[in-house]
């Protein structure tokens, strides 16, 4: 079964939401053809997930080896990184990591933090891409020697939507502010593990199927754009769901909905029997 398309139609944030909710395992490959100052340039990024958690990310043209990642994080000097890259060119990251820890260059925590930060850097950069093709390879994992650190996607998605610049998209994704919000029924991530901003908390505190998004904005003195951005982030992170408030279920403005056809149950069962027999 395929999962591929164009970022124009399905954004990276939406993909992360899907991978998170479906608890997918595999690798998301994104190819961008965004033009920069020098003209057209192809970029290729890969993000690996295990059961819906981000575990690794890399830009194909970038040096994603441990020595370089530790240098970027300020844990190794340039000279050290260069020397290690030369001497240990054929060594896998895991092996190299152990060697560096044993030699007292870095701690285990240094390595995990640096790899995590590197993964997040790649993903946050990816979230700004507006053009490109994506495909998800089920089950595909990074090479065995790579160090992987599991990262919850909810926080990544929230951070991504905070950086979102394309505001028109918000308008499309959340056209109707008369909807209300509720917490999902499925057992998911608890809000305690999520780093919410103050404004996000203010919105969360008003969540109730009876309060429309518009009312929540009003209570918090937020503009339409502010509330849209926050609700969009919470939705994409799978922390809330849209529901119709009671006022929307009945036809509004005293306008009566169209009559439901009055039919008997036997009519439906006869239809069922007939279609079964076709």
């Amino acid at each position: 079964m395929a999962l591929k398309g164009d970022l124009k139609d399905f954004s990276t944030t939406q993909l992360l939401n899907l991978i998170n909710l479906a608890r997918k395992t595999g690798t998301l490959i994104i190819e961008s053809s965004d033009a920069d100052e020098e003209g057209n340039r192809e970029e290729l990024a890969q993000m690996a997930f295990r059961e819906g958690k981000l575990i690794h990310a890399s830009m194909v043209e970038e040096d994603g080896h441990l020595a370089n990642i530790l240098h970027k994080a300020g844990k190794l000097t340039e000279a050290q990184a260069k020397l290690i890259s030369e001497k240990a060119a054929s060594m896998g990251d895991k092996e190299l990591g152990l060697l560096l820890i044993n030699a007292g260059y870095v701690t285990r925590d240094d390595i995990l933090q640096s790899v995590k930060q590197h993964t997040l850097d790649v993903v946050y950069n990816l979230l700004t891409w507006n053009e490109g093709h994506f495909r998800f390879e089920d089950g595909m994992m990074p090479p065995d020697d790579r160090i992987t650190v599991p990262i919850d996607l909810e926080n990544v998605i929230l951070e991504g939507t905070r950086r979102l610049r394309e505001l028109e998209q918000l308008q499309e994704e959340l056209p109707n502010l008369d909807f209300a919000l509720k917490f999902p029924d499925r057992p998911g991530t608890s809000l305690r593990d999520i780093n919410l901003s103050v404004d996000e908390w203010r919105v969360v505190s008003f969540i109730n199927p009876k309060n429309s998004i518009r009312q929540i904005a009003k209570a918090n003195n937020m503009s339409e754009m502010e509330i849209r951005r926050i609700v969009y982030g919470l939705l994409q992170a799978g922390l809330v769901e849209l529901v119709r408030p009671p006022s929307m279920v009945q036809p509004l403005n005293g306008r009566r909905g169209p009559e439901r056809p009055k039919i008997k149950k036997t009519v439906v069962t006869r239809l069922i029997d007939r279609i079964r027999s076709l």
Binding site: L3, D9, P258, R270
Partner: protein
């Protein structure tokens, strides 16, 4: 004689005409026209402009009509008329074309606002190599868990039967 109707809707090229054609006992009365704009021309040659019309006779005094809506937005003035008095509706989605998902969701919401009847979503073209799985489509389209999202191959009669039956089961359940 009693007649009842169901509406088959969905974006341009999602397989509405094919769905009705697979199950109707009469040749589908379609109002397809050759496509004139070049963008859509790349996708297909004929599109439905007013509606498709199919029929399933149960017996001497009960007939089911299937109406297919035109997929292009510029014909959407037909939608509300077609939806009047419907027993339920099917939203067809071309599972292999994510560029149409947003439109599919918007059509779904539009029909839901016309009438509070039961409906199902058909993840069509599941035989296509690029088809998204129904589970992924559910998340992508944000379809609530209590709405049926069914795999479908509109060119296969058995598959079409299954979708219509599921819709009828939902209608029956709702009456209970």
């Amino acid at each position: 004689m009693q007649t009842v109707k169901m509406v088959i809707t969905g974006p341009f090229n999602s397989g509405k005409t094919e769905f009705i054609r697979s199950i109707s006992e009469i040749d589908v009365v379609t109002t397809d026209r050759e496509i004139t704009t070049s963008a859509e021309r790349n996708v297909k040659e004929a599109t439905t402009v007013a509606m498709d019309f199919g029929r399933i006779t149960v017996d001497d005094d009960l007939v089911l009509y299937l109406f297919g809506t035109p997929g292009q937005r510029r014909f959407d003035f037909m939608w509300e008329i077609l939806s009047e008095g419907m027993l339920g509706f099917v939203v067809m989605v071309d599972s292999a074309r994510p560029e149409t998902f947003r439109e599919a969701k918007s059509i779904l919401e539009t029909f839901r606002a016309y009438a509070p009847t039961p409906y199902v979503v058909a993840a069509n073209k599941q035989d296509h190599p690029d088809a998204w799985s129904p589970e992924d489509l559910r998340i992508a389209l944000r379809i609530e868990d209590d709405v049926k999202l069914l795999p479908c191959v509109a060119i296969d009669k058995e598959s079409v039967k299954q979708v219509l039956l599921e819709l009828l089961y939902s209608i029956l359940e709702e009456m209970e």
